[in-house]
């Protein structure tokens, strides 16, 4: 069993995107997905207990090694910081995340401004994608979030988003 764990560790390390259990099962040639998942969860715990700078995280439906949250400032000294999302872009993103599949016109209406610029930026950053077109006159495009969105915001899947009701209760 140690063998499998090492293989899993190596695979997750080498993967460029969060690695799913399905993909691992494919590569390893094993049908026992439950076992794979168990091993990975065990590894998550091991890394957590080790208390080092690297964590094994479950994001975007898969597993990924990441630096520990509080060590961000150190890495920022090492790397050039990438541009963050502007508030308008972030607001547009949250509307899409919660309302998907959604039309641009709906996003415009909710935000009270034209979301075109923000939408373009989100598409460029691959946080948002076109899911298709609505079958009504004009055939407007339908938007939704991507896996990259989940990866960037440390979400396992969309259900991890706090509901709008929960947010409201937190505030009050």
């Amino acid at each position: 069993m140690d063998d499998l764990k090492s293989i899993l560790e190596a695979l997750v390390f080498a993967s460029e995107t969060p690695l799913t259990v399905d993909k691992i099962a494919d590569v390893v040639g094993s049908p026992d997905k439950k076992e794979i998942e168990r091993q990975l969860k065990g590894m998550m715990e091991e890394y957590r207990q080790r208390g080092g700078g690297i964590c094994l995280q479950e994001v975007a439906g898969g597993f990924q090694f990441r630096t520990r949250g509080d060590l961000g400032p150190w890495i920022k000294k090492l790397k050039v910081l990438r541009s963050q999302l502007a508030p308008a872009t972030l607001e547009t993103l949250s509307v899409i995340a919660y309302r998907q599949p959604v039309l641009k016109s709906d996003v415009d209406r909710i935000r009270g401004v034209d979301a075109g610029g923000a939408l373009k930026k989100l598409l460029e950053k691959k946080m948002v994608r076109i899911m298709g077109r609505k079958d009504v006159p004009g055939k407007p495009m339908i938007y939704g979030t991507t896996n990259k969105f989940l990866e960037v915001f440390d979400l396992k899947d969309l259900s991890e988003l706090p509901t709008l009701q929960e947010l409201k209760e937190l505030k009050d």
Binding site: Q64, R66, S83, L93, R111, G112, V113, E151, V152, K168
Partner: protein, 242 residues
Amino acid sequence: MSYEIKLDVFEGPLDLLLYLIKKNEIDIYNIPVALITDQYLQYLDIMRTLNLDLAGEYLVLASTLIYVKSQMLMPRPEAEVSEDEQDPRGELVQQLLEYQSYKEAALCLDRRLILERDVFKRAYPLGETEEAEADDVTDLELTVFDLVSAFQRVISQMDQEEYLEIKGEKISLADRINEIMEKLVRAQSLVFQDLFEGRGERRAVIYTLLAVLELMKLRMIKVYQAGPFGVIRILLAVEEGV
């Protein structure tokens, strides 16, 4: 009572409205429309004098507010007040509440451990994943529109008084173009904002912008910005090939 003129950046008319509601400590379910409308319109005036760009949506909301205000002023005979009589503010409040909830959601998203800001994954050599290419903060080559926006920011920061001085100094566009090119050859790169140093006269300021635009058109210079709101740099255009 004087109004404190503090120009926050708003993400749109609804954002401005929420700000005013919060500032006045108003109950969103019982908005004093007259007060809010007046303050909102005041803000539009300020925005107009300082910033040349006011999205149409601000005006749309202004007219909505004025309309709602007029509705509130209309006398309503007591006898006709019924259960289903609409509060003229109703639709506006709904819209505000909806916008507010997504704004909250956005703040909540921002509080998470965000990739490449709080947590980091293994770095990949450039070019090996399309992801790496898409994410990189590359200097953006500016379009004319970006430059005009930057120009607006520059002049908004300038002392307004200087606009009123009428100096007799004659300066032609060609002169300004030559000036800039000379500076550029000596310095290799220039910062956009520096071009406006000490030039308070309106004509000089506009000529500087026109000179930059002309040079861009002639492809004699290239203009880059390191990410949104970053410093704008002007470089000599390098000839390709030959």
